[in-house]
Symmetry: C2
Subunit: 346 residues, 2 copies
């Protein structure tokens, strides 16, 4: 809040606090902010959604660590528009979590296969519910979304009807598997293939066609993650950023399906209409080229210094590892009472 | 989520995750849920807001510990209606907080005077901004709220124009001070008295009248807190419950101002119109009479068992202290991996 306070007391009239649920927090904040802008309480101001996380893995997985933060402005007449119909799938699971008071800062993921089942089961649930909402539902008398009605060209197939698919992923391989799962749901005789945690069905299209669809509709979303690793709650939005920075003008007029997943498990699938490109730094890939390369040993030393070396530690100033960039905020101190101080590099 | 899952996979399409910010979390969840019901994404279902917290104080303050949980249904045609105009005040403060990885589970409040200043400064900020919104603002051309326009009988004085004032409080004494602060803002020559953390101004009414106003407009909100202690994020809603359970039918047609505060600091002041009484257990005071009385020694032993005795402890089953009530969920185990299991008492 100190960033707002310095502009005067009037700037303290802000709504919204932290939304937490593993990798889903960013999406929770995004949807809450969208709802606020649509509510009678909204008074014309911008909403700001910040997705940022501490991805912090143990020594065996240290090279999967990633980092990313995405901030989004939310308001009317936006270049990218959220469609009103969205679907969520929430289940009780212990796939990946951090117990309060645990001995270290690393998440517990005791069964990798189970964690993938939770992710895919939620994807199936969201897919099924979203299709119900956007293609209409005779049982409840729900009409299809205007852009997906048969007269508007809707085919009833979510993959055919949308240009791009953004998935939450902890690695680009998971993005690939997630898109395949969407295809298993979309190209199955009789409609929906997935039934929760029990896996997808056989596809009515050949694997080659499925891979071509991946290359066209999903791969451009993975190019940042490929270079920076897993970014947890920022993952979906990092992947969306990758899509914009890669496809650029060709995205205008297209529709994007986003699947966000957080362990625990909370998940939502929603759709975006791209009316114009958002204003953002399109030179992100060039900026990544300027990163400083560290050898594994020094990388591990730095990773250890910010995770094991600081968890439950108070009364210290972080070591300056060099390479600080102008305009970026850095932690300068954690005092003996846990008060954290940040300063902007000049 | 397990409560929903047992009703079938269709019941997994739920939105919303935990909202955290000290005692403000309940209000953040309430406002988010209100916004969802007002958004184009809403599909006619109820929202459920659950405010619950772990009030956990060190040995010196153990007798200030309280406990309470409030659940609210949010939907259309409600007996109690949220007015669209609301005001928030957010500041950067370290008045009361729990550092991650701290040696114990108790909050740090290193300066009691400063924490009160944060609370009162936010109250002043919310008050000023809310008055701007509900009484109109010539500078920005904002019209007054329909119920507070001069032709509707609005006097321009928030205290005169509203029947009741609910404040977040950690003790009933803080509720009393907060209401006095509202009066210092409302009954000051020239308008607003408070200027942030620098204290309220002199009142144009006598202290006797201010105390009569407290008795009439605020005291009925404190009767539950008086008996159960501080309930943190549930505080405002416990106090609202107290108001309904005490004033009952006489509340219908009245307007209520709610001030919610959470350390850090996040705060909002909003207004409710009571069109009818909500459906709730009006026999709460009689139920409290049935509580089991414990002597200080056994009380301290129980408090210690659930705070110091469990923080950072894994692989145990809680002791059964007796007195379990039918229908209530109790923690039955925390396993060696931090997985918590709850069971409903039959």
């Amino acid at each position: 809040m100190s960033l707002f306070e310095k502009h005067g007391a009037d700037c303290a009239d802000i709504e919204g606090v932290d939304n937490y649920n593993a990798c889903y927090g960013g999406t929770a904040a995004f949807l809450s902010t969208m709802d606020w802008v649509n509510s009678p309480a909204w008074d014309g101001r911008w909403g700001i959604v910040v997705c940022v996380d501490i991805a912090d893995l143990n020594a065996q997985q240290a090279f999967l660590n990633g980092a990313s933060a995405v901030a989004m402005l939310v308001g009317p007449d936006a270049p990218v528009v959220l469609a009103p119909e969205r679907a969520s799938h929430m289940i009780h699971s212990w796939d990946f979590y951090k117990p309060v008071g645990w001995k270290d800062s690393f998440p517990l993921m005791r069964d990798g296969k189970y964690s993938i089942e939770c992710y895919m089961g939620c994807l199936d649930g969201c897919y099924k519910s979203l299709c119900n909402r956007v293609y209409g539902d005779e049982a409840t008398g729900r009409a299809p979304a205007p852009d997906l009605a048969p007269e508007a060209g809707g085919t009833g197939n979510l993959v055919r009807d949308h240009g791009y698919f953004v998935n939450h992923c902890t690695s680009t391989y998971l993005c690939k598997r997630a898109f395949k799962r969407v295809c298993e749901n979309a190209f199955t005789e009789g409609g929906v293939a997935g039934d929760g945690v029990n896996g997808g069905g056989k596809m009515t299209i050949r694997l080659k066609e499925q891979l071509d669809l991946y290359t066209a509709k999903a791969e451009p979303t993975t190019l940042l993650t490929k270079r920076i690793g897993s970014s947890y709650t920022a993952s979906c939005y990092t992947n969306l950023y990758s899509l914009f920075a890669t496809v650029k003008e060709a995205l205008v007029g297209k529709k994007v399906v986003v699947y966000s997943y957080g362990s625990g498990s909370a998940s939502t699938m929603y759709r975006l209409h791209v009316n114009a490109l958002p204003k953002m730094d399109m030179g992100i890939f060039e900026r990544l080229d300027k990163r400083v390369v560290h050898e594994p040993d020094s990388y591990l030393e730095m990773i250890d210094a910010y995770s094991t070396g600081t968890y439950g530690r108070f009364g210290f100033k972080p070591k300056d590892w060099g390479g600080k960039q102008a305009g970026v905020y850095y932690l300068t101190e954690v005092d003996e009472w846990g008060v954290r101080t940040y300063e902007q590099q000049s």
